[in-house]
């Protein structure tokens, strides 16, 4: 798929923007803080209804919008997308709430989502536009906290499978509910008399949703493992293979069908009930899982060099592109935010080759055109970004 047009209004430092990238590679360049990352952020937001940079949507609304007399201030992100199967229009309005509304409702902003001009729920937008974003921060995928790796899997699967987003969001709420119950018991706010009976419903629901989430993640990791090997090999020249292992919070003896996972999940939950009551928290389930990256039995998260970790992060993103292409039959849009300048010559060359695929829309941001050779520069669309404006050339 590719974007025909991205339209921004009062978003970050853009007061108004119409951006029309070609179906191939677009290079956007400019100084720091000119608006390159915000442009990629807007596309990521349309794909996932979330910003990769902040959990507070209020920050996305341009300051000028707040000074204008029109009430209430808003940011608008819209795009026309050409999919393999057709053409869609998507739009998100982020509206700030006034101070009093804010206090009443507990949220600083609300979003209105439209798909082909019809209002839909935010969950219904996810997966319409698919993107893979790679930023310098993605090194934390390898050496950071487990939550980074879980979010990577969840973001990828959410864009591919509408049922996954819904099940995951339901699962997370069920875990929270269960945690609230366990906490109340731990703090002796409630009598322990009917623990099993009261947990039964929530356990059943959580196990069913969690079993699905886990099965989908395991399948994705298996697929990515196949896809990532050649990519990693080509961009590092390493003789040994990269392997991704899924580290679950309970043992399922390699049997990855959902019904088997559900059964193991249930048994583990039973075994750890007293521990859960003592800690006041759910201790089992995909919310506690992790990924491990190894080359020849060496854990790269812990012992890998900076260069190796960067290669893993890059290979992971390129494998994600392939996974999306393979599963949906439609390539996602690849967003490379200022990452090429950090790669060494060989990896940069490999990456630039990889993205010059005829059906691969890629948007590359950089502060420095010197990173690229003349061949590359003459083959791509160039856009100069300056203080919230974009100029061709």
């Amino acid at each position: 798929m590719h974007i025909l047009n991205l339209s921004l209004r009062h978003f970050r430092n853009y007061e108004q923007l119409e951006f029309t990238p070609g179906p191939g590679v677009s290079l956007i360049y400019g100084n720091n803080a000119s608006g390159k990352t915000s442009l990629l952020e807007a596309l990521f937001y349309l794909a996932t209804t979330r910003s990769p940079r902040t959990t507070n949507d209020r920050e996305l609304v341009n300051w000028h919008a707040r000074e204008e007399a029109v009430a209430p201030p808003f940011a608008r992100i819209a795009a026309d997308v050409q999919q393999v199967s057709g053409y869609i229009k998507i739009e998100v309005l982020i509206q700030l709430r006034s101070q009093e509304q804010h206090e009443n409702s507990g949220g600083g902003s609300q979003k209105l989502v439209r798909l082909n001009q019809r209002v839909v729920r935010a969950l219904d937008l996810i997966g319409q536009l698919r993107v893979v974003l790679f930023t310098p921060d993605d090194l934390t995928l390898v050496d950071g906290a487990p939550s980074n790796r879980r979010r990577y899997l969840d973001m990828t699967l959410s864009q591919l499978d509408p049922h996954y987003v819904r099940t995951l969001s339901r699962y997370n709420k069920l875990v929270q509910t269960r945690n609230a119950m366990l906490r109340a018991w731990r703090e002796r706010r409630r009598t322990l008399r009917s623990v099993d009976e009261e947990l039964a419903y929530w356990d059943d629901e959580m196990i069913t949703a969690g079993g699905y989430v886990l099965a989908e993640r395991l399948q994705a990791v298996a697929d990515v493992n196949t896809l990532i090997k050649p990519i990693f090999q080509a961009n590092t020249g390493e003789a040994q293979e990269l392997h991704i292992a899924y580290r679950p919070s309970f043992d399922f003896a390699g049997m990855t069908e959902a019904h088997h996972l559900v059964e193991q999940f249930r048994q583990t939950l039973q075994q750890r009930r007293s521990e859960e009551l003592k800690r006041g928290q759910t201790l089992v389930g995909p919310q506690r899982d992790d990924l491990l990256f190894t080359v020849g039995n060496v854990d790269l998260g812990r012992y890998g060099s900076r260069g190796q970790q960067r290669s893993v992060a890059l290979a992971l993103k390129l494998a994600e592109v392939e996974l999306m292409r393979m599963r949906s039959g439609d390539a996602p849009i690849l967003l490379l935010d200022d990452v090429l300048s950090e790669l060494d010559l060989q990896r940069r060359k490999y990456t630039l080759e990889a993205i010059r695929h005829p059906h691969q829309q890629t948007i590359v941001s950089s502060t420095d055109l010197g990173t690229f050779d003349g061949d590359f520069l003459s083959a791509v669309d160039r856009w100069r970004v300056e203080q919230g404006r974009v100029y061709r050339g």
Partner: protein
């Protein structure tokens, strides 16, 4: 954009108080509260007094039915007091408004039991906060043959129904749950997948 808060210092006290009281109501923000207040200021004396009296009456005269916890003006609500109703069936609902909803169907002539909420651990609402013990008490004294669980078809409502089912199992009475399915006059192609799915699962023989 001018906010209501600083303006309040300019308002004379009774006006500010009414705005504040109204804005405590669910679904009413400061703007709506101000609009209602100024509407009342302009309306006739009798109109405002009728409203004030209605609010006082609701608190003075209306209580909960001692049997089913529906709204009532005396010990028993009109439904419990009506001896012509089928005493062997109880529909269990979350709120008094749900009683009205079931009554509007005009296909049910039995009794009710209002739980006054649903299980919601995230909001700190557990079984001990609902009228569940009172329901079980009724089973001891009343000739109940069937309990129909009509809690809402969402997670909290299902959790509540599940607990009730366990509580009711030892009583050896018939326990049923409202069917989930398609709205009358609707179109299959516009039904959401989940509703259509449960309609399929809950399908029944027609011949």
């Amino acid at each position: 954009m001018a906010s209501v808060r600083p303006l309040q210092q300019l308002l004379i006290e009774p006006v500010a108080t009414l705005i504040e009281e109204l804005s405590r109501l669910p679904g009413i923000g400061p703007k709506t509260a101000s609009r209602l207040t100024f509407h009342l200021l302009r309306s006739s004396e009798t109109q405002s007094q009728a409203l004030a009296q209605a609010i006082i009456n609701v608190k003075d005269q209306v209580t909960w039915c001692t049997r089913c916890f529906n709204i009532a003006m005396s010990d028993l609500c009109p439904i419990c007091a009506d001896s012509t109703r089928d005493q062997s069936r109880i529909v269990v609902v979350e709120e008094p408004l749900d009683v009205l909803a079931v009554e509007r169907t005009e296909v049910y002539r039995g009794l009710y039991h209002v739980l006054h909420g649903h299980i919601a651990p995230l909001e700190g609402i557990y079984r001990e906060h609902l009228r569940i013990a009172e329901l079980l008490q009724r089973l001891q004294t009343e000739p109940v043959e069937e309990v129909i669980l009509a809690t809402n078809p969402n997670t909290e409502g299902e959790a509540t129904a599940y607990l009730l089912l366990k509580d009711l199992a030892p009583w050896g009475i018939r326990v049923t749950r409202l069917a989930r399915g398609l709205p009358t006059g609707g179109d299959l192609e516009w039904a959401d997948a989940e509703t259509l799915g449960s309609a399929l699962q809950g399908r029944r023989e027609i011949a």
